[in-house]
Amino acid sequence: MSLKQKIALAVLAVAVAASLAAGWLAQHSYAEQSREFISSAPSAQFWLGTDELGRDRFARLLYGTRVSLLLAPAAALLSTFFAALIGGAAGYLGGFWERTVTTGIDLFLSLPWLFLLLAVRALLPLNTSPVTSVMITFLLLGCLGWAAPARIIRAGTRTLASSDYLVQAAAIGVSPRRLFWLHLLPNLRPILLAQFWISVPLFILSEANLGLLGLGVSEPLPSWGALLRELENYSAVLQNPWMLAPAALLVIVVSCLQLLLRTEESVAC
């Protein structure tokens, strides 16, 4: 691991730790509205000022980071799991199964994701708490995000399945199940890790995009997507540059993830 990657890891660790310690670090609740202090500048009371409803931006940034940084990896894990299962099985079994799964992946990737998410979100029960709603949002992202990684994993599995050591293992009578779990899957680990790390920033940005449409996390729970919506008012941003804090943090975190990703890619190669 290079120095840059160590720094990236440290920055990510600080961001995660700060978000987990939000209850201690923030002086206010993320939902508390100080209606007499709307859109105020940073002060001793509100370190990053307040938003248009008088809520502490610093508290909302910390809690929003917690939501996005904890749930995005969870969604990435889920999508990588599905991708490994579907892509791995297709690549390993080959023939009819591979053709069927590849067609299925192409079909799935051609679906209009946004409209699909809108439709699924509209079908959910209305009386879900904000915490449940955010978990559902990321669960949906995780369940729908498997197709692109599955295609790469299928290709990787196909290459591995025709490698000499697997052919030899099959020749000496190792069972297909044992071949898959003990010889194939461990060798897919670098690809799976790379896909996982790629998915994390992707889901963070997807949630942010849904938030921009007003369909992300429900009020009053903050997320990076919800916080980024404030940037639509560009004239306010110019006057209050501290409003850029969530965007800056998003850029830093995604950059750190990309730096770490290079480690995984080099291992995968």
Partner: protein, 537 residues
Amino acid sequence: MLMRIATVLLLSGVWAANAANELRFCLRTEPKTFNPLLVEDESSSSIRYLTGGVLIRLNRYTQELEGELATKWKVSENGRRIDFELRRGVRFSDGTPFSCDDVAYTMRQLMDPALHSPAGDAFRSAPGEVEIKCTSPSAAIVRFPGPVAALAKQFDEVAVLSAASPRKESAVLGPFELGEYKPGAYVLLKRNPNYWKRDANGHALPYLDSIRLEIQQNRELELLRFRRGELDLVNKLDPEMFDRLSSEMPRAVVDAGPSLDWETVFFNQLQTSPLPEYKRRWFRSADFRRAISEAIRRDDMVRIVYHGHARAAAGPVSVANHFWLNPSIQPASGSDTAALALLQHSGFRRSGSALLDRDGNKVEFSMITNAGNKLHERMLALIQQDLARLGIELNVVALDFPSLIERISRTYNYESVLMAWSNIDLDPSAQMNIWLSSAANHQWNPSEKTPESAWEAQVDKLMQEQNSSQDPNKRKAYFDQVQQIVAEQAPMLFLVNPNALSAVAPNVKNATPAVLDPQTFWNAERLQIGGPLLSQR
């Protein structure tokens, strides 16, 4: 050198725009029709307003009726008959003379059941034929089978068609005529050379040579083009855009005061809705609804969400509606004490931080709104905290608009909703489809076979009485009672009346934006681009 050339080109561009004497503003959608009798959408309505000649016009500024093609009119037989004395010497844009035959032809077209004219709906008060009689080329009598509420006012939306012109609806009597239409790009309206109206100094109106209506859905782009000087008017700005523009071009923005529009909340009271029985009981309780209304701090909404560009609403009539407002009804106080007293009266009690009903059910419900509407999302966040003070847990759900409409008008699978209502009519008869218990737009409990409560029966009776009476004072008295009942029963919680915010480029003269649609160009024939001021009304 390059700078000089650029400056010369820029100035010549501005000059060219001024020389063309053309007013430019945006339509938000493609116009669906150019036939004035078939207008339903806002864009077509704007074109009808600018091109159509009407017998009687509602002055958007004074809110008084004024004769246009009719110099005099008289309503009689309890709203069944109207006699018009028509203006003489008027010609359509193609030169065809205007006479009573055109009024008769227009009325026959309007009432033709095969045409399904939305403008004709207001006149269909009873089954039967409409009789139209021309006693002379400049006198018309129209007799309806039943009384028509606010009969004279209804003619504001009836553009007179030519019976004789081969150009049919393209021959118009309004200040402008259709020049060119490029789908997806613009509609160009040209000055009607035969327009009858003149200003106080005898100048022929309109002052403008043309109006270019750019079809532009994106509000941000519209604002950007206005700031660049490519557009002259912007209607219906939201408070954020208004403030942004106000800081850059303070002389261009106009806050005309509270509009007729409402921001409201209502609860699902439908007996057959798929809600648990205990929740339906809450929503059908007037005490519960009034308690919610009391708890919502409307002043905070006005200050925080609308940046001061709205007025706390008390009922279905905005303060902008000078005649029909019942001034004795005041907006709810925003008092937690008053709200809790009402809840306790209905058996609700606090248990720790939660509110429980008489059966021990925790009071928690959802409120839906349309996704992407920042004003609504902020309002909901405020309501959420206001209700949290009472121990009520409100779950906020933003849905895409088709899903929201599906839930509130087809599946009825919702608990409460925050919605904006666009109201373009001053007369309470336009609200019949909301207040009558049998109406489909009686949104909280639509299409009741018979009124399900005594107060709804009373509102039905009062609305019918005001609708059939021709005496404005009697009608006002009936509708005052309706407003009182609505305040007591709170079937809809009226939150705010947003202000009518618009922008007018400094080179546009005679502009006096009004709260009624079309806000900025209601006096289009007197608007002027640059040059010496010709006449101000």
